[in-house]
């Protein structure tokens, strides 16, 4: 199908983009990579009157280390994350996750910020940002505000971004030498949306994991953390018995939602499959 007609503007600076967004109201949409937006336009699932192309905005570009944080601009593409040496060193979970995002031709355009702002519960970056305790840096008419990933994802495709705000970048604490991670998703075809996925990190000392963060995606309306399973594992010597307990706890505390092809029961089962594999890999 073909999209309905719309106007297109490409502001040069952030302030201009914010003004255009305010003027455009509900009929305006931001476009960066556009890898979800263009599909919805082509299918006429969305008919905005104007697209505001934000790809020229300098504030939204680049991957840098700022103090003890890795700053990833909203316009950074999935490919840039996949290929970045800074990401490989300071946020290796993201490097491991990137190849699971669709296919290279899509990763070459799709952006970090676009994925976070869209808030798809089946997407990789919302789950990773939650696991890595990312801070979202947002600009709006009132200036800058910062919000933790934990408070950012509210509901299905719903974040705490206001309609007149733009996600500029995120900051992620740098990984230290004790950090271990696990990322995997179960999908019917490589690159498809996951049936269920897990993004996990922990601080490892011998057979003990501390500061565990286990985030499941494609399971609920938002990415969801297995907080009780995390608490159970934290600081304890990891053995088969504890892994079995953690698996049962995670299955118990998270309520999976069915999707068009997979039942809630199947997803509930896969939570345990992923956590068992993840724990074994992180402690190996």
């Amino acid at each position: 199908m073909k999209s309905a007609a719309f106007d297109y503007v490409k502001p040069k600076v952030l302030q201009e983009a914010l003004s255009l967004l305010e003027q455009g109201g509900d009929d305006a949409r931001l476009i960066a990579g556009g890898q979800t937006l263009l599909a919805t336009l082509n299918m006429r699932l969305s008919e905005p009157s104007v697209l505001i192309d934000i790809t020229d905005l300098k504030e939204l570009q680049g991957i840098t280390v700022v103090g003890d944080q890795l700053r990833i601009g909203a316009l950074v593409t999935h490919t840039e994350i996949e290929d970045s040496e800074l990401v490989a060193k300071h946020a290796p979970l993201l490097k491991a996750a990137a190849p699971h995002i669709a296919h290279r031709a899509i990763r070459n355009l799709g952006t970090w910020g676009g994925s976070l702002a869209y808030g798809d519960p089946a997407a990789e970056w919302p789950a990773c940002s939650l696991t890595l305790q990312a801070t979202m840096i947002i600009h709006g008419p009132a200036g800058e505000r910062r919000i933790s990933a934990k408070d950012f994802f509210i509901d299905l495709y719903t974040t705490s971004l206001e309609p007149d705000e733009i996600l500029v970048a995120t900051e992620i604490p740098l990984a230290n030498k004790q950090e271990v991670f696990y990322f995997h998703e179960l999908a019917r075809r490589h690159g498809d949306y996951a049936v269920a996925g897990l993004a996990a990190v922990a601080q490892k000392q011998d057979d003990v994991l501390n500061h565990c963060a286990f985030t499941f995606f494609s399971i609920g309306a938002t990415p969801v953390m297995a907080t009780k399973a995390q608490d159970l594992v934290n600081g304890q010597k990891l053995n088969d018995e504890l892994i079995a307990k953690a698996v049962a706890t995670a299955r118990d505390e998270i309520e999976a939602i069915a999707d068009i092809t997979n039942s809630a029961e199947a997803k509930q089962h896969l939570i345990g499959v992923l956590l068992e594999r993840g724990l074994k890999q992180m402690v190996a």
Partner: protein
């Protein structure tokens, strides 16, 4: 508000100026306005990869990119990349392994495969399969396509080039 936009881009080495509707995606512009029929349209939602073209040196989905977004950029299609020889050994290998079949997916497959060979010269057969899983072949001819790509990776790794299957005039 003006729905038509003036754009200028380099397509297969030539500067192109045009006035188009904002909503026109890149492959419709290439096919309808420039009569380049190499990039195909399949699903128009990013699933099939038939529309794959290069923008500023990277493969993209031409149906998920507006022509107006390509303003000021360098666009390459299978036509241009065939002419300048970038795809030559892949094309020879596709012929040798009977990986063309109906040809609908071939331009996208060739461009995706070329980026794989550039980015992952040591790719395993499994990685080749993962990489091209974003390009649908309606004839389900994946086996021969994977064979053809793996053969190019092998010959490149040995520092050789494929010998032509067909004698060129």
């Amino acid at each position: 508000m003006s729905l038509k936009k003036k754009i200028s881009m380099t397509v297969n080495g030539q500067l192109v100026n045009a006035e188009i509707e904002s909503r026109k995606h890149l492959v419709d512009f290439l096919r309808e306005d420039l009569h380049l029929k190499g990039p195909h349209l399949g699903c128009e939602q990013g699933a099939c990869g038939a529309c794959t073209v290069k923008v500023d040196g990277q493969i993209i989905r031409g149906c998920l990119f507006l022509a107006v977004q390509a303003n000021g950029k360098v666009v390459e299609t299978v036509e241009g990349l065939t002419k300048n020889g970038v795809l030559a050994d892949l094309q020879e290998s596709f012929l040798r392994h009977n990986a063309m079949q109906c040809g609908f997916c071939s331009s996208g497959m060739l461009l995706a495969a070329a980026e794989l060979i550039e980015k992952q010269p040591k790719a395993t057969r499994e990685q080749v399969r993962e990489w091209i899983s974003g390009n649908y072949c309606r004839c389900t001819g994946y086996h021969s396509i994977v064979d053809a790509i793996v053969a190019v990776l092998d010959t490149r790794a040995k520092g050789q080039t494929n010998k032509p299957v067909v004698a060129h005039a």
